[in-house]
Symmetry: C2
Subunit: 343 residues, 2 copies
DNA sequence: TGTTAGCACTCTTGTTTGGCGAGTGCTAAT
DNA sequence: ATTAGCACTCGCCAAACAAGAGTGCTAACA
C-alpha cells in the first residue's frame, strides 16, 4: 500500500507532467506549496514509487515521468472530481440549445465542440441505426433498370440505397410493393427487416407481384443495411500540436489509423455504459501506444445508442476530459430522449 | 530565349529533383546518358539558368533546385506526354467496371484510387447537385411536429431534411401536399425549386391545404438546398510521407487547411474545363506554398459537373499525374454520361 | 527512526572544433 | 566554345567539452 505522502507525490508528479510535459525532478517538486519536505526525502519516495512501477526515468539521471501503471492508479484513485468552468458549460449548452432535428447533426456538433474545448481528438460512434424502427419505406424508380429504396426510421434517420430492378419489372408494381412493405414492416426494427421479409412479406408479394423471386432476393439484399454505425470526428489533427507528437513517424501511424477508421470502430463498439479510460497499451493498438482513449456512452431513454470519446496523449487532462464527457453525455441523452422517445 | 542545351539541362535537373528530392549538382548531371558535355559547361549553363530564375541554390555551394518559375516552364513546355503504365490503367478500369449506381460512391472511389496510385492527396469536388432535376419528393411525418422531406434527383441522389410542421397541421394533408408537389415539380432543376413553389404551386396549395402560408414558408425554406457541393478526399495523410514534409509545422498548417475544407473548396470551384496546374504560391494560399494542385473537370454529357484534383508537393510527378487525371476524367465522364444521360 | 544536507556521479543539451565531401566559380589551356 | 584544374564555400558529422539538472548514497541530525 502507498503511504499518504507517496500518494501526494505521485499526484503532484502526474499533475505537473500533464501540465508541462517535462520530466519532473525532486528539486522542482520540493518547491511546490503542497510539498513541505525536502528534495532528498522526495528522492527517496520517488525511488520507491519507481520500484513499484508508478513512475519511470527517461534516463539514469533524469526527472521522473508517470508510467502507464501510474496513470492507471491516478485515474482510479487520485482523480478529484472537478467542476467544469462555467465557460465550458455555456459552450456545450449553446450547442444543445439550437433546434436541430437530425440526430447525426447533433452528434457531429458534439464532436466538434468537444475537440475544440479539449484540443484533443473527439470521436463519436454514431447512433446505432439497426435498433431503430422502420417508419416508412419508399421506392422510387429512377430509370428502367434501377430504383432507390429509401428507409426512414422513427428517429428521423434516412438511409437510401440504389438497386437494380429485375428485368421486365413493371413500374406500376413498384407502388404496390411499397404499399405492402409499409403495411407489414412499419415499426419493425431494422435488424429484423430481412427476417420479416422472408417470413411475413414473401407470401403476400407472391400473390401480388410478378417475378416474385427475383424481387425478393434483391429486396432483402438491399434492406440488409448492415452498414456499421458511422464514426464522426472533431479535431482530427489536434494531436499534432501535442509535444509528444513531434516525431513525424508517430504522427503518421496515428493519423493513418484514424483515417482507416476500422481499428477505432472496434475500440468504440461494445462499450459498457458509463465512462471508461483506456491508457496507452491498454488499447491494444500499437498506433495508440502513446494515447489514452476515454469513452462515454449516450442513450435515448433507456436504450444505449452510441459512444462518444476523446483521444489524447497518455499525458491527458483526465479530470477535465472526464467532467466534460460526463456533462455532454448527460445533456446529449436528455436531448435525444426528449426528441425521440415519444411513445 | 533558352538554348536547346539549357532546355535539356533544365529538364534533366527537374526530372532528377522530382525523383530524388535532392539538389542536383553539375557533376552528377554530367554522368547522365543524355548529357554529353562536361560538368564545367553545365556549371556555366546552370549559372545562366539561375540568373534567369529557373533554378535556385539552397546555399552558396549547393546543387540546384527548380524554382516555381522553373516548374512552370517545365509543365508548360518541357512535359513529354507520357502513356500510362498498363497496370495503372487496369486499376482505374476496374473501379469503373463495378456496377455502382450512386454517383457519390463512384466519385469517392475515384478519389481513393487516385490517391493510391499517386501517393499524393486526391480531392474531388462532388457533382453539382443543384443542376440536377427533381425526380420525386416525399414527405414523411415522424412526429406531431416534425417531418422529413426527401428529395430524389434524376441522378439517383437523395437529399433529406427534417423540418418542423406548423402547429395543428393535419397529418392527412401531408400526403395531399406531396402529391401536388410531385405533380408540379417533377423534372424541375433543384435550383429553381424555390422559385417554382411560389410561382406555380402556391396557388394550388392555397386551395387544398389549411394553414397555407406557414407551410409554404417552411417548405421553400426546406427545399432551398443551398448546400455547397461536397468534397471527397483520398489519401489525406499521404503528404506525410513526402520528404519535404518532415517539418511538423508545415504538416500541421497543411492538414489544418485540408481539414477546414473551405479554402480548398474555393480553389476547386469555378474551374474552366480541362486540366490545370497551379504551382506553389500560384495557389494564393500560404499553407500550399510548397504544394502544387492539378485540377481536372468531369462532366455528364455536355454539362460539367465537378472537379477532380491531385494535391502534391511542388516536386510532383507532373507528367504522370496529368496522364492519370486525363485518363480518369475521361472514364468518369463516359460512365456518368452513360448512367445519367438518358434523355 | 525518519528526515535532511552534502557530495560525487550520470546523463542531456548546447556549443565548438576540425575533417570530409559535394559543389561552385573562376581562370587558363585546348 | 569547351573543358581541366584549382581554390573556396558550405553542410554534415563526429568528437570534445562545459553547463545544468537530476539522481543515489552516506552521514549527520532531531
Amino acid at each position: 500500500m502507498l503511504t499518504e505522502r507517496q500518494l501526494l507525490i505521485l499526484q503532484v508528479i502526474i499533475d505537473e507532467f500533464i501540465s508541462y510535459a517535462q520530466p519532473v525532478g525532486s528539486r522542482s517538486l520540493s518547491k511546490k506549496d503542497e510539498i513541505t519536505f525536502s528534495s532528498a526525502t522526495i528522492r527517496n519516495e520517488m525511488s520507491d514509487l519507481e520500484e513499484l512501477g508508478f513512475i519511470e526515468k527517461t534516463h539514469t539521471s533524469s526527472g521522473r515521468v508517470p508510467s502507464e501503471k501510474g496513470y492507471r492508479y491516478y485515474v482510479d484513485h487520485l482523480l478529484s472530481p472537478q467542476t467544469l468552468k462555467s465557460n465550458d458549460m455555456l459552450m456545450i449548452k449553446s450547442v444543445f440549445a439550437e433546434r436541430i432535428y437530425e440526430l447525426e447533426k447533433i452528434v457531429q456538433k458534439s464532436a466538434k465542440i468537444l475537440s475544440e474545448l479539449t484540443n484533443y481528438t473527439a470521436i463519436v460512434l454514431g447512433p446505432k441505426v439497426k435498433d431503430h424502427k422502420l417508419k416508412k419505406i419508399q421506392i422510387v424508380p429512377i430509370s428502367e433498370e434501377t430504383a432507390i429504396a429509401i428507409i426512414v426510421t422513427d428517429t428521423g434517420h434516412v438511409e437510401n440505397k440504389v438497386f437494380s430492378l429485375p428485368p421486365s419489372f413493371d413500374v406500376n408494381e413498384v407502388e404496390k410493393m411499397a404499399n405492402i412493405l409499409n403495411d407489414r414492416l412499419a415499426g419493425v426494427p431494422l435488424m429484423e427487416l430481412k427476417d420479416k421479409i422472408y417470413k411475413e412479406v414473401a407470401m403476400l408479394l407472391k400473390q401480388h407481384i410478378h417475378n416474385y423471386d427475383a424481387v425478393i432476393a434483391t429486396l432483402s439484399d438491399t434492406l440488409n443495411l448492415s452498414k456499421p454505425e458511422k464514426l464522426f470526428f472533431g479535431g482530427k489533427t489536434n494531436m499534432l500540436s501535442q509535444p509528444e507528437f513531434h516525431d513525424i513517424d508517430k504522427v503518421r501511424s496515428l493519423l493513418a489509423m484514424i483515417e482507416q477508421e476500422k481499428g477505432l470502430y472496434d475500440l468504440m463498439k461494445r462499450n459498457p455504459a458509463g465512462i471508461h479510460v483506456k491508457i496507452g497499451r491498454e488499447n491494444n493498438n500499437s498506433a495508440l501506444a502513446a494515447c489514452s482513449l476515454i469513452t462515454a456512452t449516450y442513450s435515448v431513454g433507456p436504450e444505449q445508442v452510441g459512444t462518444i470519446a476523446i483521444l489524447g496523449p497518455t499525458r491527458m487532462e483526465y479530470s477535465r476530459v472526464i467532467s466534460l464527457l460526463q456533462f455532454i453525455t448527460t445533456d446529449l441523452t436528455a436531448l435525444l430522449t426528449k426528441l425521440y422517445q415519444k411513445e
